[in-house]
């Protein structure tokens, strides 16, 4: 695998295999085979789930899972109904959308100040935010759990009478956790904006608030889009906080409701497959539609909370 062009330089190097032929060197064939085989192996568990989700339980029971045939749509219908997927998807939306918006809003405020002004505490502030994103959630579990339980709210606000076992708890926690990551990425992005822009704005008498809202945020659109995509998948995928802060089964977002459904789905693997595909579908759709943003979001910060 050692005789190929690097980084598009277009020069064939004599590497470990000294005399590489010009057309389809064997090393290159090995490389292609390796990559194709790996890719197919990597996709296999997902494809296997999709394949079995379309098969009849009776058929696979009779013929074994390593068989072909018995195709049906029934699993999807059953999974949707038994798992109450409509409600759980809605729960995910109710939690994810406000959390992403709030995290981006809060993060952009801090990032703006850190990038726009030079205070002595800038780095420390950014560190405070970034580090918060990397803490193990379990380390804050007890105090947060007790805090949410202690905060009494009216019943119209939360059916449980406290923040515990409410969507609010999850929105707040996810917002707090993800603000750190977004602030870090956004501040780096904002530092690349030319400072003259702000000097001019200052001369024109533009208030700080408008410098943030009308100049900085529109210029940060690529970074905001990338972060939004990334945060949607992360908060949608979030499992721990939903598991520990919610107690009523029908409030669970779709990712953590899977655990509730385990019992029903346990014996019927075709149903389990259909359920898994349904849960994966929204993130896969977002991912394929906005792949570029997803990848650039991940590498923009090169860290994950």
């Amino acid at each position: 695998m050692s005789s190929s062009t690097i980084g598009g330089v277009g020069r064939r190097q004599a590497g470990a295999v000294p005399s590489a032929p010009r057309r389809t060197p064997p090393a290159r064939v090995v490389l292609y085979v390796f990559l194709i085989v790996s890719s197919v192996l990597w996709l296999f568990p997902l494809l296997w789930a999709v394949f079995n989700s379309f098969r009849d339980y009776q058929y696979t029971q009779a013929n074994g899972y390593a068989s072909f045939g018995g195709f049906t749509f029934d699993n999807y219908v059953n999974a949707w109904e038994q798992g109450d997927f409509g409600r759980h998807f809605l729960n995910s939306v109710v939690i994810t959308v406000p959390a992403v918006v709030l995290a981006l809003l809060l993060a952009s405020m801090v990032a703006f100040v850190v990038a726009r002004f030079s205070f002595k505490f800038n780095l420390a502030l950014l560190g405070l935010f970034t580090a918060a994103n990397l803490l193990p959630p379990q380390a804050l579990l007890i105090p947060l759990y007790r805090l949410f339980r202690a905060v009494q709210v009216p019943y119209w606000f939360s059916y449980s009478g406290s923040l515990l076992d409410s969507y609010w708890a999850l929105i707040i926690v996810n917002t707090a956790f993800q603000t750190g990551f977004c602030a870090f990425v956004l501040s780096n992005y904002m530092k690349t904006l030319p400072y003259e822009l702000y000097e001019a704005a200052q001369v024109d008498g533009l208030s700080v608030l408008r410098q943030w809202w009308q100049i900085t945020l529109p210029l940060c659109r690529p970074a905001l889009a990338a972060l939004a995509v990334l945060e949607i998948t992360w908060i949608y995928n979030e499992f721990f906080w939903a598991t520990v802060l919610l107690q009523t089964g029908d409030k669970f977002p779709i990712t953590s409701s899977l655990n509730n459904l385990k019992g029903q789905f346990f014996t019927d693997y075709n149903l389990l497959s259909a359920g898994s595909v349904l849960v994966a579908l929204p993130v896969l759709v977002v991912f394929f539609a906005l792949q570029k943003q997803f990848v650039s979001g991940l590498t923009l910060g090169a860290t994950k909370g």
Partner: protein, 321 residues
């Protein structure tokens, strides 16, 4: 200092980053002073509101966990009734709490496997895909598709491979191994499924890193007669130091925080003990031993803070450049 600017974050070329170094803060602080009273209030609020959220919901609870770990609070009755018992909880964790040792071992095993298996594999794929062969996009997408999925969902998808009666592995091999249930196997089953996701993640980070490596460096090395393997290990890899450290820290922290997959399998019992599941089980479960659980949480907190500091030092130093 030979490390070049890398796309760890946005490119730093457009404008010198406003650094917080005291030596140059005077000039810019004057600009701040020129702000009107209303603007100054806005700046304060823009910092204060997010800070209150993050400090109030993350840092204060973290400190509270540390404080609670020195008490015998069981969560029943008021906090005022709790007695301070010094390091007793920590002594108990280390001496009379049987799941602690396996949990630490499993967390370490997790870390080792992520380092020895997932990371090199991710780097290998990144290097190969960076060659921009035909179909690069397909390989790349296939390899990082699992990164989009939640670890909980990954637990379910792999159940289709692992199940004793209906799983593919047993069907093909004609065996009857209960991969999730058998304590001899389940940690490996969980690790395998986690690697499936982690490889794609490491690959993505290194792909970004490789794109930032100056091509002329590689050319120069090869003109000096280095082969590709030598070029990678002696030139490319050292130049990617910031990415290496970030991957290292992320791997450590993710290994420490590993939770979702294991909780889905059996709530971290019977061979799948991890620090994160012990904390959770001690608080959410029947026996809510808050002081004791907090001691476990504090241990996690301390380990992660060490690596978070390393991480911050590296990225902030990059930042100042």
């Amino acid at each position: 200092m030979s490390s070049p600017d890398l796309p760890l974050a946005a490119p730093q070329t457009a404008h010198p980053a406003p650094s917080a170094g005291s030596h140059e803060s005077s000039g810019k602080n004057q600009r701040v002073r020129r702000l009107t009273g209303r603007d100054r209030l806005v700046v304060v609020l823009m910092v204060a509101i997010p800070t209150v959220v993050v400090v109030g919901l993350i840092w204060l609870p973290a400190i509270a966990s540390v404080l609670l770990s020195f008490t015998d609070w069981n969560g029943v009755g008021s906090l005022a009734d709790a007695k301070v018992i010094g390091l007793q909880n920590y002594t108990d964790v280390f001496t009379i709490y049987p799941p602690f040792k396996p949990a630490v071992e499993h967390n370490l095993l997790w870390l080792v496997v992520m380092f020895v298996v997932a990371t090199p594999l991710g780097i290998l794929f990144a290097v190969l895909i960076d060659k921009e062969l035909k179909g690069s996009r397909f390989y790349q997408t296939a390899l990082y598709l699992p990164v989009v999925l939640s670890l909980a969902l990954i637990g379910f998808i792999w159940q289709l491979m692992y199940s004793r009666d209906q799983g593919l592995i047993n069907a093909v091999l004609g065996t009857q191994v209960d991969f999730y249930g058998d304590p001899r196997w389940n940690i490996w089953a969980a690790l395998f499924a986690t690697c499936w996701r982690q490889v794609g993640y490491v690959m993505l980070l290194y792909l970004a890193g490789l794109k930032g490596v100056d091509a002329s460096l590689k050319e120069a090395a090869q003109m000096d007669g280095a082969n590709q393997v030598q070029t990678f290990f002696r030139i490319v890899f050292p130049v990617m130091r910031p990415i290496n450290i970030i991957v290292l820290v992320i791997t450590v922290i993710e290994s420490l925080r590993a939770f979702d997959l294991v909780w889905i399998i059996n709530q971290g019992r019977n061979g799948l003990e991890l620090l994160a599941t012990l904390v959770t089980a001690n608080i959410v479960g029947e026996a809510s031993r808050i002081g004791f659980g907090s001691a476990l949480a504090t241990i996690m907190l301390l380990i992660s803070l060490v690596f978070i500091s390393i991480y911050l030092t590296v990225v902030m130093r990059e930042d100042e450049r």
